[in-house]
């Protein structure tokens, strides 16, 4: 450290004053670097100006607090900041596209969107549903098990932070190829297989230990995830809406409850707002927290009792930024300031400096504000559950943040300054990718192709991982991720959360990173459409969306340009489908020595199933039943699994005709409500052929399809069978329901294309009438199960 910049204060504990009064620009930048603040020069200068006006230097506690509050992770500078693109200026990506879609749809059933720890929608009998999805990419890259486990723990606390009882978890993961060549792995980078084992185990452990079923998810493999593992953790909660209390006032005590505070998780948020490097492990290992799910289980019990007895006035989780963001944001939200005695915080071990205590991200901690008259009752509840809880300060009417340690003031800042960082201005450019459509002859027979596709990592069964997650605990999982004896891949999970209601909750997701290599706009559009159609397929409706972006460094204009494109698609498709966003999060700076992450948008969809008894599963039900394809097939193979299998990317990325799609979805929902749909499966990776195979392999039956029945056939069988055009389904309808079903679907793209057969074979006739696929269901199942099987 440069001695003249960092002045040790004469205190019994570690406290520094940082000499910004006379610091040059160069020195300001050096301060940011040396303290690991990840602040820009513009921001450092704003800090300098503020403290110069006060006529003093900031302390290390103050600088660290500012850095946490202003971090990309906490403040979402890119989404809220200005973006210059071509000659235009976007004042805020979030306001212009994401929030605007919700505002225009104006759904009355949205209770709280984007403002709290989780989005809240109404459900039934006075209950609401809370939903939140987070990313935990950087920690999982450094320490896969701990990073993923604490990702789950964090998102569960977000749901607790709106007083909701967590009832289901989701996880969507992205890894590099499991057979990645070790020799090509850059120094300091972990092998995808190691990351895969650690992350999946970490996810399972946390959810299982807390007794929350992990019901929906996906695993996606992409080369770019080798250096940038992608870990999305989601949680769904249930709450009585009249217990949703947020009425903290000056004078209320600030209580920290749960785990003790240690040095684990220092600088997690600033770490998450920087690129990964060879040295990430060495430098940032302390940024990864240690998970203790049992602590959080106890904490949950106590919080739920405090909620039911209405003893707290607000709660929030201690996540990114630790106490610094939880306390700051709580005070800000209720128009208060706060005084905190940092020496009261229970520590794992002695010797932490005040700034470390204040920004530590140690796990399993929640913050509560409690009216003083309820303190005793609240403390008794925590004690009964064996949870440590401590009042560390209180909310004040003076809008200042005042922190002390052993009686010494270590920070004193105006709330207004803390929550008004200089607005970031970034530049974006739109750079069309140079891609071409491949030319190759059509294979004579597609049986072998289909068998290989079934085994492609992005299509293959994820059973070996899903079985590590308890998806049954709580006994409310009505439609499971793995269906029946053959563990068929259901499109969404359905939960029945209330004992006295048949209403269900459909949880699904959509993600198509490969399309983003061609055009981020259509990638995002496809993700939304996929999440929605997965939900519709099981009987979901009134669908709410959560958006989670994983992108590269937004300082690089072309990365930001593709982010803008994706946000535009979010607005366009969500408004057309009338599916509002209720919550979202972004994880930027996903860059490693192997390059940037493939821009990835995960869309999580939460829909309502009016009666779980109407839920539709994927498996073929009875021989002789008719098979219909819903939605139009276009020659859209760009980014498809079929092209990938042949070593191509292509250009013809699947588009979304959203207005048309909405009409199809409404009709399909009607057909499901009428009870005419026996089985339904969405068409996604691998297209029609893979969907048909999956419907068959989930049952004991087979299927026959005849492509000549299609209204507007494409030129080639392979393109027809493997096109990944959006908004399509394969449906099973009983012969006796033919008329009523066709009447409901009138005017929509809906073609009878074959039937379910007693013989367990998948037989597909091509345009010329010849058999192009003929495979036994047992072989299809074996190919599909082999790739990621734990036995392999």
């Amino acid at each position: 450290m440069s001695a003249n910049l960092f002045l040790r204060k004469n205190t019994a504990f570690s406290l520094f004053e940082i000499n910004t009064l006379e610091a040059t620009d160069q020195q300001l930048q050096a301060i940011s670097n040396e303290l690991g603040l990840s602040l820009s020069l513009q921001e450092m200068k704003a800090i300098q100006t503020y403290f110069n006006a006060k006529g003093r230097n900031p302390t290390d506690v103050e600088l660290q607090t500012i850095a946490q509050t202003w971090s990309e992770h906490c403040f979402h500078k890119t989404f809220k900041g200005k973006i210059r693109i071509d000659d235009k200026e976007i004042s805020s990506l979030f306001r212009t596209y994401i929030a605007k879609a919700t505002e225009e749809i104006k759904p009355r059933w949205c209770i709280s969107v984007f403002e709290d720890n989780a989005g809240i929608i109404s459900f039934d009998k006075g209950y609401g549903i809370a939903a939140k999805v987070e990313t935990h990419n950087h920690p999982s890259a450094v320490e896969p098990f701990g990073g993923a486990a604490t990702g789950v723990g964090g998102v569960i606390r977000d749901v607790l932070g709106v007083w909701a009882d967590p009832i289901a978890c989701t996880d969507v993961l992205g890894f590099g190829p499991l057979n990645y060549d070790y020799a090509k792995l850059p120094a300091g980078m972990k092998h995808p297989k190691y990351v895969y084992m650690g992350v999946t185990a970490g996810i399972g452990t946390y959810g299982n230990n807390m007794g929350i079923p992990t019901v929906n998810g996906a695993i996606y493999f992409d080369d770019s995830y080798t250096g940038n593992v992608v870990v999305y953790c989601g949680c769904i909660g249930l709450l009585l809406l009249n217990k949703y209390k947020k009425n903290a006032k000056a004078g209320h005590l600030i209580v920290v409850a749960g785990g003790k505070t240690g040095r684990d998780g220092i600088h997690g948020v600033t770490f998450a707002s920087a690129e990964l490097t060879e040295k990430s492990e060495e430098v940032s290992r302390p940024a990864v927290q240690i998970a203790d799910p049992i602590q959080e289980e106890k904490l949950k019990r106590a919080l739920m009792e405090i909620r039911d007895r209405e003893l707290g006035s607000a709660t929030t989780d201690l996540g990114g930024g630790g106490m610094s963001s939880a306390i700051g944001e709580t005070a800000e939200r209720f128009g208060c300031g706060a005084t905190i005695e940092l020496d009261k915080v229970p520590l794992k071990y002695a010797g932490l400096a005040p700034w470390e205590i204040y920004i530590s991200e140690s796990q399993e901690r929640m913050l509560l504000t409690v009216p003083p008259e309820n303190t005793e009752k609240v403390m008794a509840i925590f004690e009964k559950e064996d949870v440590e809880a401590t009042a560390v300060g209180k909310l004040t009417s003076e809008k200042r943040l005042q922190l002390s340690f052993e009686g010494v003031t270590v920070a004193d800042m105006d709330m207004q300054f803390l929550f008004a960082p200089p607005k970031s201005v970034k530049t974006a450019t739109l750079q069309p990718v140079n891609v071409e459509e491949p030319q190759f002859p059509e294979p004579a027979n597609l049986t072998e192709t289909l068998l290989r596709l079934m085994a492609a990592p992005n299509i293959a069964s994820k059973e070996s991982v899903v079985r590590m997650y308890d998806h049954e605990v709580k006994g409310n999982t009505a439609l499971k991720p793995l269906h029946g004896e053959y563990a068929g891949p259901n499109d969404a999970a359905v939960i029945k959360p209330l004992d006295n209601s048949w209403k269900g909750l459909a949880i699904s997701c959509g993600m198509n990173p490969n399309y983003g290599k061609i055009d981020a706009y259509w990638m995002a559009a496809a993700a939304i459409d996929e999440a929605v159609r997965n939900n519709v397929a099981v009987g979901g409706r009134r669908i709410a969306l959560l958006d989670n972006f994983v992108w590269g460094n937004p300082e690089k204009p072309e990365r930001l340009g593709s982010l803008v494109r994706a946000c535009q698609a979010c607005y366009d498709v969500a408004t057309a489908l009338k599916t509002p966003f209720i919550s979202g999060k972004d994880s930027l700076y996903n860059e490693s020595p192997l390059g940037t992450v493939t821009p990835t948008l995960l869309i999580t969809a939460v829909g309502i199933v009016p009666d779980v008894r109407l839920t539709v599963s994927i498996d073929a039900k009875a021989p002789g039943n008719l098979l219909y394809i819903i939605g139009k097939t276009y020659p859209e193979l760009g980014g498809s699994e079929y092209y990938k299998l042949n070593g191509f990317l292509g250009k013809s990325v699947p588009k979304v005709r959203a207005v048309q799609a909405r009409k199809t979805y409404y009709a399909l929902t009607k057909a499901i409500s009428a009870g005419t749909v026996k089985a339904c499966h969405d068409l996604s990776e691998g297209g029609l052929a893979v969907a048909a195979a999956e419907m068959a392999l989930a049952s004991v039956y087979g299927a026959e399809l005849d492509l000549r029945k299609l209204a507007e056939p494409l030129k080639r069988d392979d393109f027809t069978l493997f096109s990944e055009s959006n908004s399509r389904f394969l449906l099973e309808v009983a012969e006796k329901d033919r008329e009523s079903f066709e009447a409901i679907m009138k005017g929509k793209a809906c073609t009878e294309i074959g039937k379910v057969t007693r013989t367990p074979r998948l037989v597909i006739r091509g345009f010329k009438g010849d058999v192009t696929v003929d495979a036994s269901v047992a072989d299809l199942r074996a190919s599909w199960k082999r790739t990621l099987s734990s036995e392999a």
């Binding site: 299982n208 049992i294 289980e297 590590m468 998806h471 049954e472 006994g475």
Partner: protein, 271 residues
């Protein structure tokens, strides 16, 4: 005793997580069921107010040391005397999953010669790690176990398992003799089998954890203490079954209900 007078205690500690659905199962059958933290039971000293006790599933105290070990020691230390009296009076004790592990760690099961001071068996780590899947169970009990009173001998039931440590094992050098003893005293209750009732012969995944002799659940000599790895509370309603969407006739309940029904009926008759 009338059904509505039956009082069941679902005990929990930090990390227990299947209490709500277990409580729901008893209430659905018209019995009273209350969930209390061990700390509360110790404070109120009210164990003997209940007619039946359940140790539900979960990860009590994180299952550190060995699954169920810490909870078992706490119960024996703080409620040992009451628990002994509870057993001596023949009041039923059910352990599901983590609860089964607790009963073994407490020395209540198998209990070859009554309550043992040390665990006589173990629920060891699964051969293939943590598993969540539906399995078939064959009732091999000849009538001693009160928890299967409603299940005919030889009947095949279907329920899910979800555990990482459920491989029932006996001391290797005595396993043959002890198994004979289990049969002799009619303590074997459930064995993993295929859907036709053919024993798994310790083959995965029909036997999901590698349990010795495919044992999924056992009771004590008196038939009043019973532990099982599968979760009957997750197979209580028809809509919890993994393939109910295939069924043309929806049945009102799943197989797990029979376990709770047996307890309630036993208590209703007995008192």
């Amino acid at each position: 005793m009338k059904r509505e007078e039956i009082k069941t205690l679902i005990m929990r500690v930090g990390g227990t997580n299947c209490d709500a659905e277990t409580q729901r199962a008893f209430r659905e059958l018209g019995a009273q069921a209350e969930t209390l933290h061990l700390n509360e039971v110790v404070k109120r000293r009210n164990l003997m107010d209940y007619n039946a006790l359940v140790f539900p599933g979960g990860f009590a105290h994180g299952d550190y040391v060995r699954s169920g070990a810490i909870w078992a020691r706490l119960v024996m230390a703080k409620l040992g005397k009451e628990l002994k009296a509870f057993i001596d009076e023949g009041r039923p004790i059910l352990g599901i999953c983590n609860g089964f592990q607790v009963l073994v760690e407490e020395g209540l099961l198998p209990g070859f010669e009554g309550v043992s001071a040390y665990p006589e068996a173990s629920l060891a780590p699964n051969i293939r790690g943590y598993q969540c899947r539906w399995v078939y169970l064959k009732n091999e009990n000849r009538g001693n176990c009160i928890f299967t009173g409603k299940v005919p001998e030889g009947k095949v039931l279907r329920m899910p398992i979800a555990h990482g440590e459920g491989r029932f094992v006996l001391p290797k050098e005595k396993e043959g003799a002890l198994l004979a003893k289990l049969y002799e005293n009619d303590m074997v209750v459930f064995r993993y089998c295929d859907k036709n009732g053919v024993a798994a012969e310790e083959k995965y995944p029909v036997n999901p954890n590698g349990a010795f002799h495919d044992i999924a659940g056992i009771c004590n000599r008196e038939g009043t203490v019973f532990g099982m790895m599968p979760h009957p509370e997750r197979a209580f309603y028809w809509w919890q079954q993994p393939d109910w969407t295939r069924q043309t006739q929806m049945t009102q309940y799943g197989d797990g209900k029979l376990i709770f029904e047996s307890i309630v009926e036993h208590l209703a008759k007995r008192c």
